[in-house]
Symmetry: C2
């Protein structure tokens, strides 16, 4: 596995929705910040190695083998993110670039020992689940904050958008994983929401409520 192959498999993994449709060449190229022709080239190579199933013009789907490799890269990425935050004083908006590099280090022992050293975490610093060594993730019944009705409460357990900008915004308004959010009011006009948490009230935009996952409480 080359670095590039791993990154493409990871991108296909993230773009694969649960429905049966394959990932389109354009979507893949966009995710990889490259051109569609380059994506086509790589798709062919991955298909040759039978990490993906590919029919011309029909998009790609991961094979069982390809999905395992992709999940293993995601596992490493997220374990390293935990390490950076828990042990090396990184903030949650600083870990991604470094984890992008660390996820490609090859050593079975390294990742298993790291997992143990971190006490077998199940989620990364952004609330995303960490696949086990067989590529399995235990699904969490989380819902978007925007789905809560006024009066309902939920614990913040994850994010849809994990961009640096959004993470820094959440830092600023003091929303972090584990915090309990109560929906006080919804403004039908623009779908903004008044939240209560930490003994304060704050109005947030529809963007914010559709990018935060909660477990109802």
């Amino acid at each position: 596995m080359t670095l590039s192959e791993e990154n493409y498999l990871k991108a296909i993994y993230h773009l694969s929705d649960t429905e049966g449709k394959g990932v389109s060449t354009n979507k893949l190229a966009e995710a990889m910040e490259t051109k569609a022709s380059s994506a086509t080239d790589m798709i062919k190579k991955l298909a040759d190695k039978s990490f993906v199933n590919y029919k011309k013009y029909q998009g790609v789907k991961l094979t069982k083998e390809g999905r395992l490799i992709a999940a293993s890269v995601v596992r490493k990425h997220r374990l390293w993110e935990v390490f950076l935050v828990e042990k090396l004083n990184f903030n949650w908006d600083e870990v991604h670039e470094v984890a992008e590099q660390l996820e490609h280090v090859k050593s079975e022992k390294l990742i298993e020992e790291l997992d143990a050293y971190l006490d077998f975490p199940t989620v990364d610093p952004h609330g995303d689940p960490i696949p086990d060594k067989y590529g399995e993730i235990q699904a969490d019944k989380k819902v978007l904050l925007s789905s809560l009705k006024p009066g309902e409460k939920g614990i913040c357990v994850g994010l849809e958008d994990t961009s640096k900008e959004f993470l820094q915004y959440l830092d600023k308004i003091k929303i972090s994983l584990g915090i309990e959010l109560k929906v006080l009011e919804k403004e039908p006009f623009d779908n903004s929401v008044v939240l209560q948490f930490n003994d304060q009230q704050l109005t947030v935009s529809a963007f914010t409520t559709t990018n935060i996952y909660v477990r109802k409480s």
Copy 2:
């Protein structure tokens, strides 16, 4: 800096003796496990970027800038080796291959935080010094075990050969860094040496005594 450029600079760094002579193309190619023609190609590229001084047929020398980059890679390599041994239960003969990968991860914060997390170690698990962030290493007045005369004692502080085989041999005979070795006898015939340590006596070969560094005690 590409991965390949970093590895070549590191190889030149390790091959540079204190005398003024440059590193020969053949020596460099051998160290990189590649062909001389490939080494020449890379030397030209590094010279273009002024990381080395190069005159055809005269070998290469690192410039100040090249030496700093090489030292930084060595610093990362050795810090990661410490991490693997101290935190992740690696043995000293298992760390090198993984450190070869980790040394190329780019993040100023990562390496400085790792350094602090490890409590600013000065040597790696094999006793090799860790350059500081400016590429400086404080030289240790260590001598080869073979230079001790019968009756003299020394603390084991480093190794010349850090191959897996030698490390595993040292594990087997229970010699590790920090242990005190006393030379009881030298056999002129084959330069084998009778050592006393840990309340036991053991005869070791000339190879062993010329690949262990001690600080006289």
